[in-house]
C-alpha cells in the first residue's frame, strides 16, 4: 500500500488546512467520493476516472453527463462501511484523476483508441482504475488498456448482454463491447458471467453469441428464483481465482430505482440487491471496475447518480481491500 494521498486542503483566506470530506455535504468542489483531485499518478493505488462519452448509444443519449453528476452525488458518500467497518481511504491511496480526454468526440474509433491509451498508462503505472461512464461502449477500450497481456474474467451486471454485432455501420456502439472484447481475446468467455439480463429483442443474436462463446448468462428471472446469495456463488464459481474485471451497467437495476439511463428495462434488480451483489465479490482479484450508463437528463430526483456513486463506493471497498491485502507483509 502506498501512503494515502494528502486529502487536506489549504483555506486560501485563512491559511489553515482542513479535510474537505468532513465538511457539510453540500460544500466544496465535487470530486468522485470526495477524493482529492490530482495531476500525477505517483504513489497512487486506485484512480477514480470519468469517461464522459455517449456517442455509442443506440437510443437516448445523456450518459456523457454521468461523471459530472456522479461526482455531484458523491458528496453524500462517506468513508467507513456500515457492514464491514472497512475504510478504503485508510487502506489505499486513492484519488480522482479527472476525465479521459478525447482527440475527437465525433469518431468512435478514435475515442476507443484514446480510452485504451489512457488505461494502458494507468495499467503500466500499476494503478487500478475505478471508472464512471459514459455509455457501455467505453468498457471495450478499458479492457484494451488493462487486459492486453492475457484475457481476464468478467463479472458483467446488466439488462443486456452487450454482445451484439455491428449496428448502424459500427461495431463500437454500446451494445457490443463484450463481443469485441471476446473476439480480441481480452476476456475469457468461460470465465464470464452476465447477470440481470432481460427485455425483448428484435433478434436473438446477442443472446446466442453469449451462449455460443461459453459465457454464463443469468437472466433476471433466474436471479429472482435463485436469490442473490446463490447468484454470487455461481458467479464466483464461473470466474474462479484469476484476475477479473467487474462492469456494472446501471440499467441492470429497475428503472424505479434508476430511471436515469438510456435504454431502461422494467423488472430489474432493486438497489439493495445491487449492493449485496457487488459486496458478494469481496476478495476477488479485481483488475478494475466501472459503473456505466448513468444518464442524468432522465433522472429528475438524482437517485440514479446517487446509486451510481454508492456502487462506486462499494466497488472501491473491494479494490482497496485487495490493495491492503497485497501490501501486508507475508
Amino acid at each position: 500500500m502506498s501512503r494515502p494521498t494528502d486529502a487536506t486542503r489549504r483555506n486560501p483566506a485563512t491559511g489553515e488546512r482542513y479535510a474537505p470530506h468532513l465538511e457539510p455535504r453540500y460544500r466544496e468542489i465535487a470530486t468522485f467520493l470526495r477524493a482529492p483531485l490530482v495531476e500525477r499518478l505517483d504513489a497512487l493505488d486506485i484512480a477514480l476516472v470519468g469517461i464522459p462519452f455517449d456517442g455509442g448509444v443506440s437510443n437516448r443519449p445523456g450518459a456523457r453527463l454521468g461523471p459530472r453528476e456522479m461526482r455531484n452525488q458523491s458528496s453524500l458518500m462517506r468513508s467507513i462501511h456500515h457492514v464491514t467497518r472497512q475504510d478504503p481511504f485508510a487502506q489505499a491511496s486513492i484519488a480522482d484523476i479527472g476525465d479521459v480526454r478525447f482527440s475527437s468526440i465525433y469518431d468512435l474509433e478514435r475515442v476507443s483508441d484514446d480510452i485504451a491509451a489512457h488505461y494502458r498508462a494507468l495499467h503500466q503505472a500499476g494503478v487500478i482504475p475505478l471508472s464512471a461512464g459514459g455509455d457501455h461502449s467505453v468498457t471495450y477500450p478499458i479492457l484494451r488498456g488493462l487486459a492486453a497481456d492475457a484475457p481476464v474474467g468478467l463479472i458483467h451486471i446488466d439488462a443486456h448482454t452487450d454482445t451484439w454485432d455491428a449496428f448502424q455501420g459500427s461495431k463500437f456502439h454500446h451494445g457490443g463491447p463484450f463481443r469485441l472484447a471476446c473476439e480480441a481475446g481480452l476476456i475469457d468467455p468461460k470465465r464470464t458471467v452476465q447477470i440481470g439480463i432481460r427485455g425483448a429483442q428484435n433478434t436473438a443474436q446477442g443472446w446466442d453469441y453469449s451462449d455460443a462463446s461459453g459465457m454464463r448468462v443469468v437472466f433476471m428471472e433466474e436471479v429472482e428464483a435463485l436469490g442473490i446469495e446463490a447468484v454470487i456463488a455461481e458467479a464466483r464459481r464461473i470466474v474462479g481465482d484469476g484476475p477479473v474485471y467487474l462492469s456494472f451497467d446501471i440499467d441492470s437495476v429497475d428503472p424505479a430505482f434508476a430511471p436515469g439511463t438510456g435504454t431502461p428495462e422494467v423488472g430489474g434488480l432493486t438497489s439493495l440487491q445491487a449492493l449485496q451483489l457487488v459486496r458478494g465479490f469481496r476478495g476477488l482479484p479485481l483488475v478494475g471496475a466501472d459503473v456505466v450508463e448513468v444518464a442524468p437528463p432522465f433522472d429528475p430526483t438524482g437517485n440514479t447518480a446517487l446509486l451510481g456513486a454508492t456502487l462506486m463506493y462499494e466497488l472501491l471497498c473491494l479494490l482497496a481491500e485487495r490493495c491492503a491485502a497485497q501490501a501486508e507483509p507475508k
Copy 2:
C-alpha cells in the same frame, strides 16, 4: 392465423421499403408496440386500441393522455421475448387501429355506448382487442362489446375492487365497472379473481359486493404472503378453462414503479411481480385484455407508460400464442 400485416413502410423520398420497427428507437411515428397503423380490420388477429377517456375518474384526471404516451414509450419494445423466445408478430397478424371515437366526451353514458359499439364491431370481425386506457370506466363497455353472449371469467389486477356503487350521481365512474359488468351478466363472479387490492376506504361497500357476489379477492398482503406463483395458481383455479378477460390497472403496481396514475396507493406490486403475474396466464383462452389508468401528467420519468407498454407486450404474447395455437392444424 392470418397472414402478418405488412409492417414495412415506403420511404417517400427514396422509394425503398424498410421495416420501421428495426430503426433506432427514437425514429418513426409512435404506434403501439411499433405495430403498423391500419384503417381496416381485414385479416387482422389482434387489434391494439387506444381509449383516451378519463371522464370517469373520482380524483386526479390525466389518463386520457395515456394512449398517446404508451404509444411513445412503445418505441422501446421489441419482438422476441427473452424468456419464451416467442415472437408475437410472427404468430399473429397485429396492428394499431387507432383510438375509439366519442360522440360526446362530456357524457359518460354516451361514451360507454360508443366504446361498446366499437368493441362489438371488433368482436363480430373476430379480432381480439388489446386496449390502452383511459380510466377504468372503459372496461365495462369493452365487456359489453365482447361478452354480450355469455359471461366471461375475469382476472382483475388492481389496488381497488372497482365494484362500488353510484358515486356523485353516476354509475359509470372508474370505481364501478365490475359491479356493472356483474349486474349485467357480462362477467361470472364465481370465475372472477381480483389481485393486489389495498388501501383504506370510507365504506366497505365495494369489498362487500365482491365478497357477496362470489368473487375471489386477493389483497396485497396475501399476494406478499403467498408469492406470485401461488397467486397465479389460485387465479387459474378460479377462472378455470372458459373464456376470460384480463384487466390490468396500473395502480396495482407500487407508485415507486408507476407514479403516473390518478389514485395511487403505496405498498403495491413491484414491476417484476407484475410481469411475472401476467406471464403466469399463458395458455388461458383470453378474449381480450387492457392496461388502464396510466396518467402521464404525474409521470415525470415516463416509467409508468414504459411499464404500461411492457405489460401490453406481455399481454400480446399471451394473445398471439393463443392465435397461433388455434391456427394450427389439429
Copy 3:
C-alpha cells in the same frame, strides 16, 4: 374514549352541513388525514400536529415544507383499514391542531424549548400526539414533553442511528436526538430498537454510542435476512410492555419509494415493508408517534409525502385502537 370531534362543515352559501372527508379528494382545505382543524384540546384523544422546522439538518434542507405537503397528500387517505376493517375516526376523537409555533426559527435551542412546551401541554391535557416533521431534531423536544416523568421505550425506524454527538457546534441537530434523549433519561436504551440502519459514515461514533448504551440496532442487512415478521418480534421483545414512542424517519425507506428527503441512502425498506413493520406494533402502549424528514422539494411525484401520510394513517390506527381499548369498560 371521548366523543368524536364534529367533522362536518357548514356550507356558507347554502347553510347545509356536510362531511368534508366524503367529498372528492381534490376538494376542501387540506388538513392531516382530512381531520377537522380545531383550536381547542377539549375532549380530544389524539392530536395531529405539524412541526415545520428543518434548521437541524446537516445536508439538504426542505423538511420544513413537510407538514404542508403531507396535509396535501392526506386527501387520498380514507377511514376504514383494508386489513383490520378498523376505523380510527370511530374509535377516538381526532383532530388536526395545526403547527407548533416558534419564538425564533433561527435558534435551535429556543425551537427545542418551544416544541417541548407544546408537547408538555398536550401531555398534561391527556392528548396523544401524532406528529409530522420537520427534520429529526424535533423528536428530542417531543420526548422532553412526553417523557419527563419516566423514560419510555423507543421504536426508531431510520437509515441512521441519530445518536451522534455535537456537529458544527451544536447538539441539537437532526443526527443526535436519541443521544440527547438517552443522556436526559427520556428513553430507556435497553428498551430501544433502531431498525433499517445503513450507509457509510466518517466515524463509527453514533453506531458505537447505540451499542454502548444498550440499544438494539437492526441494520438493513439484518432486516432483509430476517424478514419483517421476525424484526417485529425482535422489536416487541426489546420494548416489552411499558410505554413506548415510535419515530419513523422516511429515509429508512429506499429513495425509489421516498426520494423526498435530505440525506437519502440507497438500499432501504420498500413501502410495503414499511407499512407491515408499523402494523406489527398493534397493541403496544404507544405514548405518541411521528413521521419525519419528508422534504417536498426533492419529491417531484409527491410519492414521499403520500407515503408519509399513509404511515400517519397506519400509526393513527395503532393509537386509536389503544384509545378504544382503554375506553372500554373493564
Copy 4:
C-alpha cells in the same frame, strides 16, 4: 364596510391567540391569501371561493386541482400593496368560504346549476365573490348567479374568445361560457372587451361570434402594438360606468410564465403586463372576478399557481377598494 373577520387563531396547546398570516410562510393551513376560513357569510364583504371542476375542458385536464394549489401558493401573499400602499384586509371583511359543492361532478349541466345556486346565494347576501377555477366553463354559472337581474359589462383576459358553439355534444364546455352568457342576456356584448386573444383555430366561428355580437376583441398583436396603458384605456371606454365582471384566464399569459394550463398558446402576456393590466381597472364597479384554468399537473415550478394567487391579490385590492369607498359616509 363590515367589521373585519377575526383573522386570529387560538393555539390549542398554549391557549394564546395569534395572527396566522404573520407567521413564516410555510406554516399554517393553506387558505386563499391566508384569509380565515369561515362557515358563515355574516358580515362578510368579499368571499374567496374555490371551484374545483375541470369537466368542461377540451384538451388537457387538471384545473380541478387549481384551487388547492392556489391556496398553497397563497402563502407567499401579504397584505400591503407595494404600489398603492393599500391593505385590502383593512378595507373590507374578507374570508375563504371553501369550495363550491357539486351534486354530480360527471354532469356538466348539474354542475352549472350547482355553481349558479351557490353564487345566487352569495349575491343575495350582498357578498362579492372572488373565485379560483377550475376550467373556464365555471364563469357562465357564476354570471347566472350574479347577473340574473341585468346584464353586466365584461373584461375578459384570455388567449381564446370562449364564444364557441357546442362541442362534442355540449354547450357547457370551457370554450363557450361567454356565448352562453351573451345568449342568456347575462353580459352586454357592447360592454364586453376580450384581451390577449391569439392562436390558430379550425374554424373562425368563435372570433366571428364575438365580432357579430359587438364585443371588442383585442388580439395579442394589438396589445403589443398599443401597450398596456392604451389597452386599459380602451377597455375602460368599452365597459363604461356600469357594473362589470372581470374574468382572467391564466392562458392569456405566455406559457413561459404560466405553463400550468390545459390549452397553452405561446406568444402571450408577460406576468408584469398581466399585473399592470389588472391594476388598471381600479375604481370600476366590479361585481366579482375570477382566475381560471390554472392546472397544477403541468406546473413543475409552481409559478402558474403563484401568478394565479398574485392575480387574486391584485383583484382583491380592486374589490376591497370599492367596498371601502362605498362604506364611506357621503
Copy 5:
C-alpha cells in the same frame, strides 16, 4: 397548387371516414401539425420532415428526440391563422413524410450524405421541405440538397453564428453548418443575415468568419435596440428578392421560453418576438425552412417543443402562401 392530400381517416371498427385533425387534441396518432402521414411525394407541395440526429452537438445531446416531441406537441396546432385568417392546408397539399433514414448514426459524414440525398430527392420532385431537427448540423446537408444549382439567401435566427471551424476533429458539428455552406457555395454570404447572436466565446473565430465573408450579423442587443419591425426590414433588405432559406435555431429564444435545448444562452428573444419575426417574412421566395435544436430531455413543461411546433405552423403559412400565389393564374 396540387389538390390537398386526403386528410381523412377510416375508422377501422365502424367504417366511417372522419377528419383526425378535428378530433380532441389528445386523440389520434401524433404527426407534424396533424397532417396526414404519407408514403409518396405525388401531388405534394410541402413535406414535413423529421431529422432525428444529434451526433453533431458539442455540449448536451437530446435533439434526436426533437421530431418525436414536436409531433406530440403539434396536436395543439390548428389550421386558420388568427392574424391573417389564412389556412395553409387549404392553400397547399401538405403531408408528414416521416423521418430521414440514416445508414449510420455513428458517422457524421455519412449522415450528412444521407440527408443531402433525401433533400435532393424532394427538391427534384418539386416538394418544399419544412424540417424539424435534430441539431443544427443537419442544415448543411439540407442546403446541399436544395441549393446545389445556385447559392440561396439565408435568414438564420440563432444565438450562435454557427460559422465555426472544425472542432474535435470534425467540420460536421452543429457549430459550423453555415461556414461549410458558404465555403461550398450553397449560400450567398452577402444575402445572409444572422439574428439574435449572443453569448461569450473562447475565440472570436466564428464571429470573424461571418463578418469577413460579408454576412450581416444582428446581435441580440441590436435586436432589442431596433425592435422586431426594423430587424425584419433589415433582413429583407439583405436577402433581397432571390430564393432564400430560413433556419430557426430554438436557442435564439430565451431559455425561459425554450429551456429544452443543448447550449442555452440567457438573454434571448421572447416567444412573441420569435413569432413576429417569422411572420415578417411573408412573401419571400422561400425554398425551405427548418426548426432545430429542440432537446426534449431538458424541457420538463413541453413548452420548447410547443414553441417549435408553433414556429413550424408559422413557417408553413409562409410556404403555403407562396404555393397558393404561384398556383394562381396570371
Copy 6:
C-alpha cells in the same frame, strides 16, 4: 495586474498539459466560470468565492446548494464577451478559491463572523471578491470584511429592500442585511440605490427604512416606465465616483426566468434586462460583487443557476476591466 493564474492542467495518465476551459463543456471538474481552483491568494486579482449558507431565509430554504450548482452551470461560460470583446481572464488573475468555512452552520452570528473574517483576509490581501450565495444574509458580513474602513456605495438589485428589522428573534436573517450595514456605517445610504423592488408586505417597515435613511428605491414599475438605460443613469448618479459594492439577488428577475429561489415575486426583470443593467455599470470602482438566493431545488431546468453563472461572468468583466485599468502605467 498580476500574472494570470496557471489555468492548465496536467493529464495524470499522459503527462501532457492542456487547458480545461477549452474542453467540451460537460468535461472536467466544475469550478466557477471554469477558473482554476487554488489554495493560495498569491498574485491573485479576483477571487471567486462560494458561500453555501441559507440559514437566514424566512421562507423556502435551498440556497446553500447554490454555489455547487452555479459551478456546475458555469461550464457553459466562456471567456470573450460578445458585446465588448473583452476577455476578463486575459485582463486579471482570477481563480476559484472554494467555499467559506463555517465554525457552526447552526448559529447565524457565528456564520456572520466567519464570513466577515474570510472577506477581511481577502481585502487585506488586495483581492477583489466575486461571490455566489447562499441567501442574502451573507452580504452583511461580506461588507463587514470589505468596508470596515469607510462606507461604500451600494447598487442593490432585488425584489425586496432587505432593510427589515429583526424577524423571529434575529437581525441576521436574509431580509435585513442592508439595514444592518447601514446601521454599522458600512454603506452610505445616500450612495445606495435599490432596483427592482416589488411585492406586497405585511408592514411598510423596510420600505420606510430605505426611504428614511436616504436610499433611492426604484420599484419595478419605475424600471418598466423608465427603461433600463435611464435606470442605469439614475443609479450611476446616486452612487457617484466613490467605491461601490454590487449585490444581485436573483429574485429581482421574474420567476419565469429564475424560478429557483426562496421567495419568488412575479412581475420582475427579464434576463436580458438583468444583463443590460449589470453591463451598465462598466467603469465604476467596484470593491466586490455577489449573486445570491439561487436555490437549485426549485430550479428543474437549471435556468436559474445558468443565469446566476452568466451574471457572475458579466460582473467578472466589470471587475477585471477595473484591474486592467489600474494596472496600466499612468
